[in-house]
Amino acid sequence: MKALEVTQATKRFGGLVAVNNVSLSVNQGEIFSVIGPNGAGKTTFFNLLTGIYPPDEGRILLFGKDVTGLPPDRIAKEGVGRTFQNIRLFGAMTVLENLLVGMHIHIHVPYFHALFRTPLARREEKRAEEEAKRLLEYVGLLHRKDELAKNLPYGEQRKLEIARALALKPRLLLLDEPAAGMNPRETEELQAFIQRLREELGITIVLIEHDMRLVMRISDRIAVLEYGSKIAEGTPEEVRTNPRVIEAYLGRGAAGGAA
């Protein structure tokens, strides 16, 4: 079974076709990257996967289940975690609370139990908190647990966003430009971190990124979008040398180079 299978997805905004008839599939346990010029429709593609916009056409299967047109909260329950291109943390909540929100669907406390804080509620809350702390430790943010999220430096906010997505216990993790705004050193750390996620947690990861060094090193496979359409797909090597990709995206001098 594929982790993700998209068939002929299309999304239009007015006259603009942001995602045009895109089909692709991602294997379980894979790190799969989506690249393409700005405005190619990558983020929109993610938004289709997570239900923020319903696709105008096409179907989306998650682990074999058809989720086309489901709202975001239902898709999250299917095990899809994501981060956003522009960080969207709950700024006025603490780091720990951000994680607990991420665990929302895994805290099984019915309303009346919460209202009266029954032993069940207490137990669950405590368990959730322990788990959240473990996760924070895992991503190295435990020492920040009581800080307000918006007071964290940018890099740590990025990390927290990933941690929050992990709190959902996703089977599929979508990362939208996680390395944006990071310097090369920090990007290297991020790379190791993502690899660890796959190795240790077995999560399937789909990545949007413009940092080619990261993409080329980390990806098992890569898809390239341009003007909403998929123009190439393959291993990093195949993509890097694809003339169309070089023309549209990488630029002649930059192929695999400095960016």
């Binding site: 709202p71 929100v101 929302h104 406390v109």
Partner: protein, 442 residues
């Protein structure tokens, strides 16, 4: 410094005992200010607060002037906000004020009870609205509607009104009030559902205007459903509404050595009932705030898209907040109807909704002690301070023209307080940390 403030408090105790008057109470308030704002050692501060509690109680018992009540409220605030006071003492003093001082003062002046009850009712509602506005960030300008639904739920069946449209033995006996507190939770929650289902689909300020409209709709219905079938008795209002029998309470108080008469029995009873309700409501508030629901509400307020991506369904979660707030208000409506024995549409205007909202904001959005303090402050202001002031002006300065009678300008004062407060302390009197952070954002 320590000694000085202690002396001040002591002096006030003396004054309260020997020469209780508005002036000595003002002095007491000053002493409280000194205790709260000067840099004192925790021990002295605690001592002072205890002393002042005693002094205000004595002062209230001896003069019945409601300035003393402000003092007690002030002490309660100090107890909840000042740092480094032993928790045991905080609880002890707070209990002493609520369970002893206020009732004692009430016996000297039943208006204290009336104030206490009104504060309590509004505080509970403010706490309910706090869930909706403070936690979930849903701007509800029609909150009084739920109060109305609660009040009418009991008023209709706790009076002869129900005879107009159904068979049965009405009014229902007073004990049924307790049952109806439960029923009102259901009816108001359902009203919340009916109002919320369309309204909560809308964004931000649209919600404000729609809730405002729906709040008016409920009032208009209350005002007009006297025909073709008479449900609400329209503008005439419903009276008398049954109160629960309280012989057991009189007996209980009797065995405690408290003698009650006609003017104080129900007042004391409702005072305790309202206290109990606040206790429950606070508990519910705290519990919810620290549960996955409370966090989901805050998350939605902060960022709907991100919250949904965490698996939080938008509409059900908002509805839950809306219905929770509504239910709080509904229960208090029942108590309001019974305590007043009279219900009419005029109590549930937009102004009432705005006042409750004002309480939440004034106290500090999202903050539980804040909501209570906000309710106390605005209720005392509305019912007592402004009235006392205009009474004072009218009796002692009769030569000023009636056009400038301060009582006519209560809204002006209310407005000024709101505006000044928003400009100089938008985070509220007792800010909650989350919102405080929000306010400080540059």
């Amino acid at each position: 410094m320590n000694a000085l403030s202690f002396l001040l408090s002591l002096a006030y105790l003396g004054l309260a005992f020997l020469a209780p008057s508005p002036v000595s109470h003002l002095f007491g308030l000053a002493a409280l200010g000194v205790t709260a704002f000067l840099r004192l050692s925790p021990t002295w501060r605690t001592l002072n607060l205890a002393l002042l509690t005693l002094a205000f109680t004595v002062g209230l018992m001896r003069s019945g002037n409601t300035l003393g009540l402000i003092g007690l409220v002030g002490i309660l605030v100090a107890l909840t906000t000042l740092p480094r006071i032993p928790t045991g003492i905080r609880v002890l003093l707070a209990l002493a004020i609520l369970l002893l001082s206020v009732p004692l003062a009430g016996f000297a002046n039943t208006f204290v009870f009336e104030l206490g009850i009104q504060i309590g009712i509004y505080a509970a509602m403010a706490l309910g609205l706090n869930v909706v506005v403070g936690m979930a960030g849903l701007l509800d300008l029609g909150y009084a509607a739920f109060f109305a639904v609660g009040a009418y739920t009991w008023a209709i069946f706790g009076s002869e009104q129900a005879k107009n449209f159904m068979q049965g033995n009405f009014p229902l006996p007073g004990e049924y009030m307790y049952l109806f507190m439960g029923i009102a939770i259901v009816t108001t929650a359902l009203t919340g559902l009916v109002i919320g289902l369309p309204a909560l689909r809308l964004r931000g300020d649209y919600l404000a205007i729609v809730t405002l409209g729906l709040g008016e709709v409920v009032r208009i219905l209350a005002n007009n459903l006297d025909h073709p079938i008479n449900f609400t008795n329209g503008p005439q209002g419903i009276t008398p509404v049954q109160r629960p029998p309280i012989d057991w309470f009189r007996e209980l108080m009797g065995t405690l050595g408290v003698k009650l008469d006609q003017t104080t029995d129900y007042q004391l009873f409702f005072y305790f009932l309202v206290l109990l309700m606040i206790g429950l409501v606070v508990l519910a508030n705290v519990n919810l705030a620290n549960s996955r629901f409370g966090r989901a509400w805050v998350a939605i307020r902060e960022d709907e898209v991100a919250a949904r991506s965490m698996g939080i369904p938008l509409l059900p979660t908002k509805l839950l907040a809306f219905m929770t707030g509504a239910a709080f208000s509904g229960v208090m409506g029942v108590i309001f109807a019974a305590q007043r024995t009279f219900v009419s549409p005029e109590s549930f205007t937009l102004l009432a909704s705005i006042t409750i909202l004002g309480m939440v904001i004034l106290g500090g959005m999202g903050s539980i002690p804040g909501a209570i303090l906000g309710a106390a402050a605005l209720t005392i202001l509305n019912l007592d301070v402004l009235k006392t002031f205009s009474e004072f002006v009218r009796t002692s300065l009769p030569q000023i023209p009636s056009q400038v009678d301060p009582a006519k300008y209560e809204r002006l004062v209310f407005g000024l307080i709101l505006v000044l407060m928003m400009i100089f302390r938008p985070e509220g009197l007792i800010p909650e940390k989350r919102h405080k952070a929000e306010m400080e954002e540059a």
